[in-house]
């Protein structure tokens, strides 16, 4: 048995860095706090890689040959009853170890990149403190041993996301975006909390190992009680998925993610592309053994994922802000992962979707972080977010150009880049489950290739725009992460995930189904080709096409008016018919009672205030007569 207790350090180091840089950051030079943060992250990156090596290759397997679920560290934090207690600890299993690698790698790259990107910004130290806080919360989330610990860290990532989106707090849009992100995800977390309460009430435990084990109380309890045709456990899973959907920006709780792009670009890369937004996928994967018994909940996961991926891909084709294109692309890819979980079965080859989802999560973290960091380098060079103010940048930004191209190829699903392998597995899983879902995802694959290359050509090709000053390549602290992530995007596709991360922990064999792989490559190529025709040279084909689509294009450009629908519901309906009566009640009835009490007190004391005359002897008379009165009273009482 290997001792994994050192994994607690993976959590404690970023927490320590947060406190250190957060409290004393202003006494350091900006660069020093950046270097402290980055080196701390480097240490936990090495620790995570070491843990992964030990876990996957050295640790002996369980008796049935699967990877063990291991409690590396565990302490009881809140003792509720003997059975029900909230623990804090580190759980190691294939997905949490995989997430450790994803988070620490991307976080390290983002830290390094931020030293260059945030150079000279006001609040540099604050930025690094928040990054450490985020890394701590996200790592705590993935290694959570029980669902309550996960919930606590889940809220912590929400807070760090809020703080980082609102980093430029002097800008109104950033403040609005951070509030929006916080409120929308908080609303979704309400569902998560309800789900947890139902789950723990029916099963009597929070513990993941018990809950997802083969004799889990979740399978037997909560089945007898039905509500609206679904069992208690199904409802609990649906509510938990609502939390996941909020964090992972699934339709219709996605509205915060595009606005979250107001944050600094490295933050978008770390939180809103690679790590925090996949927390919802991770949550479903973590609870997967229960979901597999609740087919209704799993179907919801699949359909929400599929719809979101299509919906977001269509919007992504019409946006002009490069970060927003990437945000919608993130939503679309997370939709893929959700869909893959939704179509998956349990165990062996049945669990292909689960494996594919985790695989896609892994590869997506690399290429999407790369895309965002590349976008950051572009924005850094031209000081604009809008792709119609860019063009012809390939001469000025050679490294960014090449790495961005690799990322685009990876996300479009062109072999041998990473995205191809994971996306192909998802398509295979969808194909064997439901042909409609497969058709949707197949269309999304084409759209993905199209909008990514639309972005690529608009930024790097086309005619050169007149820049105020010549754009120049980013400094080495920014290009090194780009190169590293480009290598990741190229080679992570070859990692044999079927041997490592599977639904039941047992390895299985897969063979590439060329019958699906070749058409998926073909549609990606078609998407790229169309984008090439439209956007490589300056022409008006795209504009003409957009005009011919009329209303549909306008609707997609305006994100299908979902924001407006929300505004309508909140401002017109909730504010008018719920909030206003409540406010009236609060102001007139609740406050009225309070004001009445204070008014009466005020009046009464005003009337009797003459009593406090300041005359010593007047007080003495009252005192003496009171004493005499009491004395007489006692004498009277005693003698009777």
């Amino acid at each position: 048995m290997i001792d994994f207790s050192y994994t607690a350090l993976i959590l404690l180091i970023p927490l320590f860095l947060f406190v250190l840089v957060g409290l004393f950051g202003n006494r350091f030079k900006p660069l020093v706090s950046g270097v402290i943060g980055t080196s701390g992250l480097f240490v936990i990156w090495v620790l995570s890689l070491f843990t992964a090596y030990k876990y996957f290759f050295v640790l002996e397997k369980a008796t049935d040959g699967s990877f063990q679920k291991l409690l590396a560290v565990n302490t009881v934090w809140l003792h509720l009853t003997d059975k029900l207690h909230i623990d804090m600890g580190v759980l190691l299993d294939p997905i949490s170890v995989m997430m450790l690698i994803v988070i620490t790698t991307v976080s390290l790259m983002v830290h390094l990149y931020s030293i260059g990107y945030m150079h000279g910004e006001k609040g540099f130290q604050r930025f690094f403190a928040m990054l450490s806080l985020f890394s701590f919360s996200m790592l705590g989330l993935v290694v959570a041993t029980n669902i309550f610990q996960m919930y606590i860290f889940w809220e912590l990532v929400g807070v760090s996301s809020y703080l980082l989106i609102g980093f430029y707090y002097t800008r109104d849009t950033a403040v609005a975006a951070s509030k929006k992100a916080f409120i929308v995800t908080r609303f979704a977390d309400l569902g998560f909390l309800i789900g947890i309460l139902i789950l723990s009430y029916t099963t009597g435990t929070f513990d993941f190992i018990t809950l997802t084990g083969s004799s889990s109380p979740a399978f037997s309890s909560g089945q007898g009680v039905w509500f609206l045709g679904l069992s208690t456990m199904t409802w609990s899973m649906i509510f938990i998925f609502m939390g996941g959907a909020g964090k992972s920006a699934m339709f219709p709780l996605h509205i915060w993610l595009p606005d979250a792009m107001e944050g600094p670009t490295p933050v978008s890369a770390l939180i809103h592309a690679a790590t925090m937004v996949v927390a919802g996928v991770y949550l479903v994967a973590r609870m997967f053994p229960i979901y597999i018994h609740e087919t209704a909940a799993l179907d919801i996961v699949a359909w929400v994922g599929a719809f979101t991926s299509l919906f977001a891909a269509v919007i992504a084709c019409t946006q002009f802000d490069i970060k927003r294109v990437l945000a919608y692309s993130t939503m679309s890819q997370i939709g893929y992962m959700m869909l893959a979980l939704g179509v998956s079965g349990y165990g062996g080859h049945e669990g292909l979707g689960y494996m594919a989802s985790m695989f896609h999560l892994f590869t997506h973290a690399f290429f999407k972080a790369l895309l965002f960091l590349g976008a950051g380098a572009i924005i850094h060079a031209v000081h604009s977010n809008y792709m119609n103010e860019m063009g012809g940048l390939r001469k000025y930004l050679p490294i960014t150009h090449i790495t961005f191209l690799i990322a685009c190829l990876a996300i479009a699903g062109i072999p041998p880049f990473a995205g191809f392998f994971s996306k192909d597995e998802i398509l295979v899983a969808a194909f064997h489950h439901n042909k409609v879902l497969f058709a949707m995802e197949y269309a999304v694959a084409g759209l993905t290739a199209f909008y990514m290359f639309r972005l690529y050509y608009s930024v790097f090709w086309r005619k050169e725009v007149h820049y105020h000053h010549t754009p120049h390549e980013a400094p080495a602290t920014m290009t090194i992460p780009l190169i590293f992530l480009a290598l990741g995007s190229t080679f992570t596709g070859f990692i044999p995930f079927t041997k490592l991360v599977t639904s039941d922990g047992l390895p299985f064999e897969i063979h590439t189904e060329w019958g699906i792989a070749i058409p998926s490559i073909l549609i990606a190529v078609v998407g790229i080709a169309v984008a090439t025709v439209f956007y490589r040279k300056e022409n008006n084909i795209a504009t003409r096409l957009a005009r011919s689509m009329g209303g549909f294009y306008t609707a997609a450009y305006h994100k299908f008016y979902i924001d407006e629908v929300y505004l309508f519901i909140t401002k017109r309906i909730i504010f008018n018919y719920i909030s206003r009566p409540i406010a009236w009640f609060d102001r007139h009835i609740v406050d009225g009672t309070m004001n009445g009490v204070s008014y009466v007190t005020n009046e009464a004391s005003f009337r009797i205030r003459k009593f406090q005359s300041g005359q010593l002897q007047q007080y003495a008379i009252v005192f003496v007569s009171g004493t005499i009165f009491l004395a007489l009273l006692f004498i009277y009482l005693w003698t009777n």
């Binding site: 406090q612 005359s613 300041g614 010593l616 002897q617």
Partner: protein, 105 residues
Amino acid sequence: MFEGVPLTWFLITGTIMFFVGIYGFLVRKNLITILMSTELILNSVNINFVAFNKILYPGHLEGMFFTIFIIAVAAAEASVAIAIIINIYRRLVSINVEKMDEMKY
């Protein structure tokens, strides 16, 4: 020396002194006189203590000690009170108790 003097006489003396003190406290306007009235009140209590001790519990000394404590405390109190009165005089150029009415509503 006091053999044969009944307890009641002492108590009557004490009571008279007490109410004389109370009366003085309530009606005199001069702060020094008010202070003297409080001394009367304290001393009426002392007489009671001594009388009770001497007649009811001849073998004990608690009443005597209490009286001594009260005398000591009264002395301390008188010094503090006079200090306060001097300060009041410096401020108001008067020791009339009716003039000290700043602490009202």
